[in-house]
Amino acid sequence: MDYNVTTMAVQTGPVSSAPSRPKKHYLNETKGFKSWACTLDHKRIGVMYLVGVLFAFMLGGTFALLVRLSLMTSKHMLFGKVLMTAEQYNRAFTLHGAIMVFLFIIPAVPGSLGNFVLPLMLGAKDVAFPRLNLASFYLWVTGAVMALTTLVLGAVDTGWTFYTPYSTTTEGPVTLMTGAAFVLGFSSIFTGLNFIATVHKLRAPGMGWFDMPLFIWGIYSTALIQVLATPVLGITLVLLMLERAFGIGIFDPRIGGDPVLFQHFFWFYSHPAVYIMILPGMAIISELIPTFSHKTIFGYRAIAYSSVSLALVSFIVWGHHMFVAGQSQLATVVFSALTFLVAIPSGVKVFNWLSTMYKGNISLEAPMLYAISFLILFAIGGLTGIFLGTLSTDVLLTDTYFVVAHFHYVMMGGTVTAFIGGLHYWWPKMTGRMYSEAWARIACVLYNIGFNMTFLTQFFLGSKGMPRRYYNYLDQFQPLHQFSTFGSWILGLSLFMTLAYLLASLRKPMDAPENPWGGTTLEWATSSPPPTSNFLEQPVVEREPYDYRPVVAAK
């Protein structure tokens, strides 16, 4: 087998070349539980992460559906019985948030797709520190087990934000839950550290910084935030645990603490964390759009720089979560002004993606459908962010369903949409199998219908004055709540369908060509699935990424 990237570069459409798969690849080279549990192969760790985060997504999603079901009527009745009490409801939404944030969306893309694809894209054999990579996964497992243990111990009702002094005074295994978030933070730091080192040291010969695929730029920016911001969360959670366990007054005013200080600490991490979530999503979209438009990316450098500048700006806007929380008025004004800076690099990305599609040759396989969904949903998420950055309207909208809708459009409509798109995109590479395209398209359409039904409604609930985290609500809000709940069922159905046809594809023999979509990045220059060493021969990069010119013209 001879893999020479200089000759693979151009395919101008979906290619169904005969599978050229070595007999031994990373999935079957070694067998047995131990070969997986002790693997140092980034691809296997990526797959294990994928299984883990998908499990967390299902669990978090189940709680989301329960929350929505409970809100369907203002009496919380289902078949004549009360579905949930207020205490149960508070635990359900806390678990939904905490699981989705800490167990799913922060590790989702870097841990699974990032782990799998990043070294391949760089033309590397593995990440820089394979053992650290495995340690990161096991820390994730440890954190997950701790978080799930709280379920058995009665679960916490603090909201995923753990605001003091509620969190320091309420009953329940809060210390264990914050301990879980602490451990998960280290998992995230290890992944980030590994990726930074890998990007710096393990790029293929010929690959300069501006020859890297934009996915790498996005994941690299994410890694910077993971390494720089996560320690602050760790310290904050330790302080919280000290206060709960030993009564050391840090955040609780009754023993001399300051609850607003907690919010500053918390958002100093958790705002950058928003970009730990969205940047990998944007990174995926930057791959999907040129590949399926079969056209070079428009404004490569602008997209690369916008990833890094989003990572930097993310550190100086945390106070916009606290406009009415009692921070100084000057701080409020400054944070509002800085918050608007976020709009610029985000806008640049969107405009560049659209320009990439312009005069492209666009095939609409499922990953591209998700990419277009991302553009539309993220546009709504981004534009509604303006309402919240603007001081006078934020005072009305903050702490209402408007915020809930906004961040679901960004986190789910943005990141999860991109994640699902990326999962379809790299599924053949990971598993060696093509999924059912027809089912994938149906599921994507249902996903969009369900998503918008669920969350568009919530903007109206919020601007009408419905506060978030409410168990009981005024009767006037019931029709909108019901509509939202119906939407959540369609959304759940579409995700369930996706899981079903992806799993179904695993039952058939391997049929994926090495480059099913006509991609130009290095992961498509090896077999599907790749051999354990990724490439049989060290790839050398001689063309810029996303170069769709015919080979002859490029020479």
Binding site: T169, R254, P259, F351, I372, V395
Partner: protein
């Protein structure tokens, strides 16, 4: 377009609400335009440039002019929106000096309001129309948030600290007060009613000391006990027989007490009332004439409550 605004916004309770709504609706229409500016090309390009086998795409790497344009124009737009939001917010952030002050104390899960004259209510806020009211707020336990959707204002209440919010109501009638910061089990039931009324009705409201005492109509002794604490009776009078600066209330009802300077008096309703309004008139033997008058500080229902309370501590 008022009907459209009403679909999205709560009723307007103040002039400030109108200003916020104008910003909101402007941002809404701007967002609709920008959204279409993104969504239409995304869908149109997918249709117009739909895949044809063998078509070669142009190699367009960038366009500096376009890229600078779509960085600078949004930046200018954002600067404009920031200042627009700031303008409205300045009004929200700074209460006028002449505003009436109402103290708000939140605890799981109720709102307690206290007026300048000492009138207190729970969950029942009354304000006169067209007069600015400033709320000086604190919490007794966890974070809460005083949210009045119709006035478009909210602010957190923080234990151990005072925060402020204000509004100038211009619409008569009832409005909702609701808690917007998660505070546990009763969070969603932590509501209150804001009644905006005429000056005359508000004056009448203050005269009767709010409506809180009506809850105690059938057990006035409890109302009296509350007054014993609130009005400061407890600093000199006990009700368990312990000695203090003033006579204990335990067992005093109906007894005959000796007075300073000679004479006796039976402790009945008339004597208790006189002792509150004109305490120096008859001093119980063995005590100093140190009690201040409570004339004007005690309302009729509070005097009745105190009498009922003293009666009850036998």
């Amino acid at each position: 377009m008022d009907w459209f605004r009403n679909i999205m916004m709560p009723p307007q309770g103040s002039a400030y609400a109108g200003e916020v709504d104008f910003v909101y609706m402007s941002l809404f229409w701007m967002s609709v335009v920008l959204f279409l500016g993104i969504a239409i090309p995304a869908v149109y390009f997918a249709w117009r440039y739909y895949y044809k086998p063998g078509r070669v795409t142009p190699h367009i790497t960038h366009n500096t002019f376009l890229e600078i344009t779509w960085s600078v124009l949004p930046l200018l737009l954002c600067v404009g929106i920031f200042f627009w939001g700031l303008k409205g917010w300045m009004e929200y952030a700074v209460a006028p000096g002449e505003a009436m002050e109402v103290q708000v104390t939140a605890k799981k899960w109720l709102w307690q309001f206290e007026y300048p004259d000492g009138t207190r209510t729970v969950g029942d806020l009354h304000v006169p129309i067209n007069k600015p009211v400033k709320f000086v707020m604190t919490s007794e336990d966890v974070l809460h948030d005083f949210f009045v959707p119709d006035m478009r204002v909210k602010h957190d209440l923080i234990p151990g600290r005072f925060t402020e919010v204000w509004f100038n109501p211009t619409v008569m009638g009832k409005h909702i007060i609701t808690c917007a910061e998660y505070c546990g089990k009763g969070h969603s039931d932590m509501r209150g009613t804001l009644t905006v009324e005429s000056d005359a009705d508000f004056a009448k409201f203050l005269e009767t000391g709010g409506t809180e005492w009506e809850d105690y109509k059938t057990h006035m002794q409890d109302w009296g006990k509350i007054q014993w604490e609130r009005k400061g009776c407890n600093s000199c009078h006990t009700y368990d027989g312990a000695t203090s600066k003033g006579p204990t209330w335990k067992g005093i009802w109906g007894s005959t007490v000796e007075l300073e300077g000679g004479g006796k008096v039976v402790v009945d309703e008339a004597y208790l009332r006189e002792s509150m309004i004109n305490p120096q008139a008859k001093i119980v033997k063995g005590f100093q004439p140190i009690m201040p008058t409570f004339q004007g500080l005690l309302r009729e229902n509070e005097i009745q409550g105190l009498v009922a309370f003293i009666k009850s501590v036998q």
